[in-house]
């Protein structure tokens, strides 16, 4: 505390004596100084002080300082020192870890303080690119804290950082350039940063791979001494794991880019390993390498990728190295376990690799196949549980899609292979099958069942296997012994193991069914279990499996055993168990939690031996058979329909319901169709009416057309005189409609003009008429006047005598009357 105070004194100047400023006040002062000071030195000093206080007074600095610090990052770009203080401070306040210096009282509320400050900083998407740009600054004081700050942010808020980096131009490229950094601190931190960034983001993973990450990481790994290297090697491997996990595109790239070959040196154990031993770091590194290999050939990947990776792994001698580790001495148990798992997945479903593995010999005397050594430890109670699981998985992988391998194992059990006293896988499995260790029973049963998967020939072969149980007693078949053991053992795990083996055996194999149903007491046992009603300690699994086996006995029955023919067995199920109960029991299996767990992946994943009850391949078989069994029981029912309707069994009821549903369904469909039909009929009527209308209008139009044509021809003869262009000739019948229309239009125009002319004519005639009438009137008037004038003339002549002048004046008035209007 004293140190801080003296430090602050020098920065802030001495406080007035007697008063002790609180942390918050000090920080307030410092922040105002950073934001207002004009002198770079002052700002720099204030930032330095903030950095010093940012751990202890994290909340205060963070709450008040983020914006100011960001401002410095934007404005003081050229001063590495202040940038370094700034970035360090930001890194501290956003850190996920809790600092020792932090006040104890704060710790409670501090739980997520780093995340909250990270969120605040990332809220503005423009902030992160500023930090990214400082990755390009070569100065150590800037670049390193920038990387560390990014780690802080990514640890707290990975999703947000990933999204921003993806959209910021060259964001990922800048990060990838850091892997070539020659200052190791920065480079190593860059690897850490990339590990965080590539978590569950396929896009970033692909970009990182595209930017030559595998080359760069493998270079670093080799420089650091491969698996003997320190934690940096582990980090690099973890990053590679992130890039490859569930990323088909990157796995493809890894395989295509010949990177698998470059892993080879990491799997070679030094000769003097026993002297140097396994350091914890070496164990971690080795784990990562094995994990990496398994990621490439994981059964979850597309088959094509698995095959090509398996091929490359063999050709690059990595399979050989793995097998060497398997047989080496002094390998830690967990590494050995993981190696066994890896070998399993490298050979799984790949005939060449499986053959290679079958021929691997252990350096024992006499040399034994590695497979035998492995099976020995599987049926050995003293071996660690996980190791035994791994061996079973490896054995399963060896048998997967490997008919030759399956045959090899079964052959070791057949009577013909006498004279050979060496321990064989088959013998080991058989002894494990009936040993007193229930886990061994389970492992052996499952192992043996894998010899029979999709292999009818081996199912028949295995039926020939005879066991000598007691001295002097008749040898019994393996299958019978299974049936007997089933009834004698009290352990659930052993029973389930045997039942799974039997179910695999019976499926598609009537010969096996025939032998099995004849085992004394076995059908009674199965019926009793299936109709039992206890529900404790996973007993429902046992009941379900027994039901399943009964179903298989019905399904694959060739009716060769009188008492247990198809019909007898299904009646047994129906009468003794009841179909409803039977179906319920069958359903219990797929509803069980352990079923879901086992069906998830081929590898046996259990934390404790008591969890090992069901197995992957059995789940597959069950899934494919369940429906068939129910169907078979139903069909059987129909064949023997001696029952009246009243005594309908549950199954029949179900069937009836099914039919009712079907009928209801069909009824509904029928109604739908009826409705559709009505609708269509209505539509049809409407269309018909419309068509009639159309036809009528069509006729009308034709009539009109002929009428118009006629008019046209007549009109033409009328109009020829007035129109020069003479469109009057009757149009040829074959002319296109539009021609007719144009003609019609022209005709109607002509008609109109004609009418106009006629009108004019009538007008003119009327006028003429009125003029004529006027003229007549006038003429009459004239004659009247003439007569009067004659009278006057006579009168005048009688009075005087002047005849010549009057004649001429009457002529003039005549003329005027005619030309007036």
């Amino acid at each position: 505390m004293e140190y801080f105070k003296s430090g602050l004194k020098s920065v802030l100047g001495g406080p007035p004596p007697g008063t002790n400023p609180t942390g918050a006040e000090t920080i307030e002062k410092l922040i105002s100084r950073v934001s207002t000071s004009t002198l770079l030195e002052d700002r720099r000093d204030a930032c330095r002080a903030l950095r010093a206080l940012s751990k202890k007074y994290r909340i205060e600095v963070g709450a008040q300082g983020i914006d100011v610090l960001k401002q410095v990052l934007e404005l003081d770009k050229t001063d590495p020192e202040i940038l370094s203080y700034c970035l360090d401070t930001l890194c501290n306040i956003t850190s996920k870890e809790v600092f020792e210096e932090e006040m104890e009282s704060d710790i409670n509320i501090n739980v997520n303080i780093g995340e909250q400050f990270s969120e605040m900083f990332l809220k503005n998407p423009d902030n992160l690119p500023i930090i990214l740009s400082y990755l390009e600054e070569y100065d150590f004081r800037v670049r390193w804290p920038a990387v560390k700050f990014l780690i802080s942010l990514t640890t707290c808020r990975p999703k947000e950082v990933q999204d921003i980096i993806l959209v910021s131009p060259m964001g990922m490229s800048k990060l990838m350039d850091l892997l070539a950094e020659n200052r190791e601190v920065i480079r190593n931190d860059a690897v850490l940063l990339l590990i965080h960034l590539t978590k569950s983001n396929a896009n970033i993973q692909k970009i990182v791979a595209f930017e030559n990450a595998f080359d760069k990481l493998l270079t670093i790994i080799s420089e650091e001494g491969y698996t003997d290297g320190g934690i940096v090697v582990e980090d690099c491997l973890l990053l590679m794991l992130n890039l490859l996990h569930n990323n088909t595109s990157n796995i493809n790239f890894f395989q295509e880019g010949s990177y698998i070959q470059k892993l080879a040196p990491m799997l070679i154990l030094p000769d003097n390993l026993e002297e140097i031993g396994w350091s914890p770091q070496k164990v971690s590194n080795f784990h990562c390498v094995l994990h990496l290999l398994r990621t490439l050939v994981s059964p979850n990947n597309p088959a094509q990728i698995i095959t090509s990776c398996q091929k490359t792994l063999r050709n690059a001698n990595l399979l050989e190295s793995l097998c060497n580790i398997l047989m080496a001495t002094g390998v830690p148990a967990d590494i050995l376990t993981e190696t066994i798992n890896s070998v399993g997945e490298v050979i799984r479903g790949n005939l060449t690799n499986q053959e290679y593995f079958a021929n691997v010999l252990a350096p024992s005397s006499p040399p034994r196949p590695a497979l035998v050594i492995l099976i020995m430890s599987m049926v050995n109670e003293k071996q660690p549980f996980t190791l035994r699981c791994a061996v079973l998985y490896c054995f399963e992988c060896f048998l997967y899609k490997n008919e030759i391998g399956q045959e090899l194992v079964v052959q070791t059990l057949l009577p013909s292979s006498s004279g050979n006293t060496a321990l064989t896988t088959g013998q080991l499995l058989c002894s494990g099958l009936f040993s007193s260790d229930s886990l061994s029973n389970w492992f052996s049963a499952v192992g043996l069942s894998h010899c029979l998967i999709e292999n009818p020939a081996q199912k028949e072969q295995l039926l020939r296997v005879l066991l000598a149980t007691n001295l002097g007693a008749q040898p019994v078949t393996l299958l019978s012994q299974c049936g007997v053991f089933l009834q004698h053992t009290s352990k659930l795990q052993a029973k389930l193991g045997i039942l799974m083996l039997v179910s695999m055996w019976l499926a598609h194999c009537p010969a096996a069914v025939k032998i099995f149903v004849n085992v004394p007491g076995v059908m009674a046992f199965l019926t009793a279990q299936t109709s039992a009603s206890e529900f404790d300690n996973n007993a429902e699994l046992l009941q379900g499996l027994c039901a399943f086996i009964m179903g298989l006995c019905v399904l694959f029955n060739d009716n060769s055993v009188q008492n247990y023919s198809k019909e007898n067995l299904s009646q047994l199920i129906e009468k003794r168990v009841g179909l409803e109960t039977y179906c319920k029991k069958l359903n219990e299996i797929s509803r069980h939690e352990l079923y879901a767990k086992a069906a998830k992946q081929p590898q046996i994943k259990a934390k404790h031996s008591s969890e090992l009850l069901l197995e992957f391949e059995f789940c597959k078989l069950f899934k494919s058979m369940e429906g068939l069994i129910i169907q078979a029981l139903g069909v059987q029912r129909d064949l023997s329909n001696g029952l009246s309707e009243l005594s309908l069994s549950d199954h029949e009821n179900a069937l009836l319901l099914q039919y009712k549903d079907l009928i209801r369904d069909q009824d509904k469909k029928l109604q739908d169709w009826q409705r559709k039909y009505n609708f269509l009929e209505k539509q049809y009527d409407e269309v018909k009416v419309q068509a009639d209308e159309l036809r009528q209008t069509n006729i009308q139009l034709i009539d009109q057309n002929t009428l118009l044509k006629a008019q046209l021809s007549t009109g033409a003869s009328q109009v020829t005189n007035t129109v020069q262009t003479a469109p009057v000739e009757p149009p040829p019948t074959a002319v296109a409609d539009d021609h007719v229309i144009s003609l019609e239009r022209r005709q109607s125009m002509e008609n109109a003009r004609l009418k106009q002319v006629e009108e004019e004519l009538a007008e003119k005639t009327a006028e003429l008429e009125s003029y004529r009438r006027d003229q007549d009137d006038l003429l009459e008037l004239l004659t009247a006047q003439d007569t009067r004038m004659c009278k006057f003339k006579d009168l005048l002549r009688q009075l005087d005598a002047l005849p010549d002048e009057d004649d001429s004046s009457s002529d003039v008035s005549d003329n005027e009357n005619e030309s007036g209007p």
Partner: protein, 213 residues
């Protein structure tokens, strides 16, 4: 498996123009008629021979959708070649070429060889963009041009191989700095120590990659 050179390609262009189909046709000699949207980026690889030298092509097939554009940008820098694809039956995919080209030129290294590809040449009846238009665009922007059909495989091999030839020539001319892996070119493992025909480091000569068209 050994190779003299390794070239990194990217395939870009609007969504649905057939980028993934081109890649599938080239790497697997298959055609997939159903459009399965590419998410982010997918990887494919094949070996070819140029000038009796084995050349490994690593091809990243990008998503054409706008939403993935920023992700696609991350791939420009490290690529030696790019196939810029449009669909001859959809005019708008041709119209968007300038945007793509700007994006590519802005984010890639200046020597990246860009091949313009008018895909779906089998759909002649639905053609909306004339071959001459594509050729003219390519000439104007200094690209190599070709019409292909991922369905019938017409010109698909040529498109990838000609791009590789172009890059190979640029290497011979010393335009590419082959020691910088960020250019999308890698020398094969057995070739790296001695190869007389290769120019030394920093031989980044003139950038006028003459594109014939």
């Amino acid at each position: 498996m050994s190779y003299a050179y390794l070239f990194k390609y990217i395939i870009i262009g609007d969504t649905g123009v057939g980028k993934s189909c081109l890649l599938l046709q080239f790497t697997d000699k298959r055609f997939q008629p159903v459009h399965d949207l590419t998410i982010g980026v997918e990887f494919g690889a094949r070996m070819i021979t140029i000038d009796s030298k084995q050349i490994k092509l690593q091809i990243w097939d990008t998503a054409g959708q706008e939403a993935f554009r920023s992700i696609t940008r991350s791939y420009y820098r490290g690529a030696a070649g790019a196939l810029l694809v449009y669909d001859i039956t959809r005019r708008e995919t041709f119209n968007h070429l300038t945007t793509w080209l700007d994006d590519a030129r802005q984010h890639s290294n200046s020597n990246m060889v860009i091949m313009l590809i008018g895909n779906k040449s089998d759909l002649e009846s639905r053609r909306e963009v004339k071959q001459e238009e594509g050729a003219a665009f390519a000439r104007e922007h200094g690209l190599v041009f070709m019409e292909t059909s991922a369905k019938t495989a017409a010109n698909v091999e040529e498109a990838f191989i000609n791009t590789a030839k172009e890059i190979y020539e640029k290497i011979q001319e010393g335009v590419f700095d082959i020691n910088n892996e960020a250019n999308g070119i890698k020398i094969g493992p057995q070739h790296s120590p001695t190869n007389p025909s290769l120019p030394g480091a920093g031989g980044s000569g003139g950038s006028q990659g003459s594109s014939c068209c």
